[in-house]
Amino acid sequence: MNNLAIETEGLTRRFGELEAVRDVNLRVEAGQFFGFLGPNGAGKSTIIKMLTGLLEPTAGRIRILGLDLAAEPIAVKSQIGVVPEGLALFDRLTGPEYLNFAGRMYGLDRATAAERAQELLDFMSLADRPKTLIVDYSHGMKKKLAMAAAVIHSPKVLFLDEPFEGVDAIAAGALKAMLNRMIARGATIFLTSHVLEIVERLCSHVAIISRGDLVAQGSIDELRSGVAARQDGGQKASLEQIFLDIVGGERVAARELSWLE
């Protein structure tokens, strides 16, 4: 019996003529801290939207924790947490109200939702703004609140789209500690980030998508050994080197603009 938290088969998404995601077969085992990488416009957000039920695939199948997302969307959604691109908050609620709302939307009873909301506000250092509307939060505060809402129901799989973007070092430290504790308790985390150092430090496994195609997936060590074999290098390659090797970024970096003095 497999132990896959996320599995896709032939996942494809077309927007009119454009094939944004093509025949992606992704496999993420339960308990993995999984980094999903790719250049801008490669299809990362499109895939994360499809995996979380925010976008309908044109073709292919998605299974989360063994459940078919198309057939059992409610059962799947109740076991996952999402911090989507753009955060998606109800900005005319206060932080406590929003967490309370999110908890009950995920099926927590009123008392538990309130209790967990309180704990999360304390943990995220947001408790001292009980009456401030979310619209008046800073970007970092909104990010922490979105993260808090995504974990309030203790999800088994957590999807995070650029979770550390715009978050200060102190808050980022607290978030990373929380995510690592979730991994230690058996949760699966699937995150996208442009900051490869963060992915390298946190994730055990990665997948790389380029122009809608899944071009690599495996543990960082497996990808590293693949690059080393191709380059005959004696040095241990960083994730950035692995990434550039796979998506061909070095050629772009080497180019120059003729008119730029």
């Binding site: 009950r104 939307m105 009980p130």
Partner: protein
Amino acid sequence: MTLTPGRQEQLRLVAWLRWRLFVNGLRTRRGKADLASKIILGVALGVVVLGVGPLVGGGSWYAIHKPQPYVLPGELWAIFVVWLMLPIFVSGFGAESNPGSLLRFPLRYSAFAVLALAHGAFDPVGVAAIYWLFAMLVGIAIASPGAALWAIPALAAFALFNLLVNRVIFAWLSHWLAKRRTREVLGLIFLLVMFSFQLCGPLSQRYGKTAMPVVLRLVAFGRFFPPGMAASMITTGHAGGVSRAALYFGGLAVFCLLFSWALSIRLRAEYRGENVSEARVEKTAAPTAVRAGFSVAGLSPAVAALLEKDVKYLIRNTTMFFTLAVPFILVVVMSLNKGSEHGSGPAFMRSGSTVFPLSVGYVMLVLVGFAYNVFGYDGAGVSVLFAAPVRFRDVVVAKNLLHALMVSVEVMLIGVLDWVVVGPVRGPIVFLTLLAAAGFILVNLAVGDLTSLYFPRKLNFGQMRRQQTSGVSILVSLGTQAVLAGLAFGFYLISDVTGNLSWCGIGFLVFDVLALVLYRRVLAAIDGLALKRRDALVNELCR
């Protein structure tokens, strides 16, 4: 090294930019549908504007042909008020798009100022007003070609003055509206002003005769203001008073200079890169325990949570909340006519049995707009609704429930108010009105749920921009109300002709059953439709 393009080139580029934005906007089905609805509304308004032209021209002809002191100033005051107020009504109370976004480029100040002025001149209301002024000129020229020689500079200066006033108002409003809280307060004031226009009729009927001498005395002072100055310049110039006419022209020029100066203050500040966006207030407070949310018997926790969220949104939306009070104020004001000593008020205001159905109809008309774009205020939060383990049907039910609750509470309160200020309502009338209202609510919710999914528009709190609502939704809503009103009128006619009110009751009862079937069918299809429309919804509302 590149050379900064000249003003004409910059203006040409901006014109090209606007054109491309317009053309690219038509790539989507929504863009095309919006254009079509704008054309339909534009043609309807165009007919009105064109129809007013001959009336205004005829009035001007009459004013010169048979000297009438009040006609020309009256027409110019009316154009002044329309030019001033309609753009605010049409574009609404929101910070308008301005050329400030182009300031990252090396835009010359002169090009920036021309763009700001052009924005007002090409405003549909501005075009209509200029057409009416031209119609006035034609009327004056036909009555007396000599008078037209005075009318040309007078009306041109008056047009320039109006253009400047319009721009000054929008420039300063945009400045104030950049702050969220100010925007909300001004939005409320805007609603009050809009509402106060509805009071003009009843108040003039009640106090018109008493107020008329005062109004006539005030009219005499009108010649010290641009509309009066322009009219006086034409009439005195035509009568041979050259020096006095020149004096009025000088007065108009002074007003134009004054408003040019006020406009330049704002434009220069904007050109310098003034940033008036709201700074976040760093207020901390002692942490308080998080309170448990609503618990509503018969509702699932998720629907109760959604309902609670929407109630909080309603309470925090000042303009939306104020809208709920409008029907009550109207009933009170309309009732002023009822007790007038001459009994000049409309007959229907003397009986609670006629006032109640009308005020319930008014309540539904005022609130119906909320049902046609139910996700508008959710904005990016709509993603949460799709990501959560909740059927979309439940989300829609929560929103419909709030709407039905709002209408029910309003109907109940307005019934009490009608009874207090007008008189008792007959039992059968109450029954029939509620029967009709139930069906109307169901039909509007069913149609509104569909337009909310197919033509969603993100709405901003404290703003009332008409363009924020999809033109298609407006048309669908208007069409639905027309059909429902026609239906109600039909049932009423049948009852009136047969002299038997129960026909009306049977009609509404059948209608209610059909409306319920329609609503249930829409609700049954909502999950599937929401899945199909989720990309479009998320894209539109998360912008």
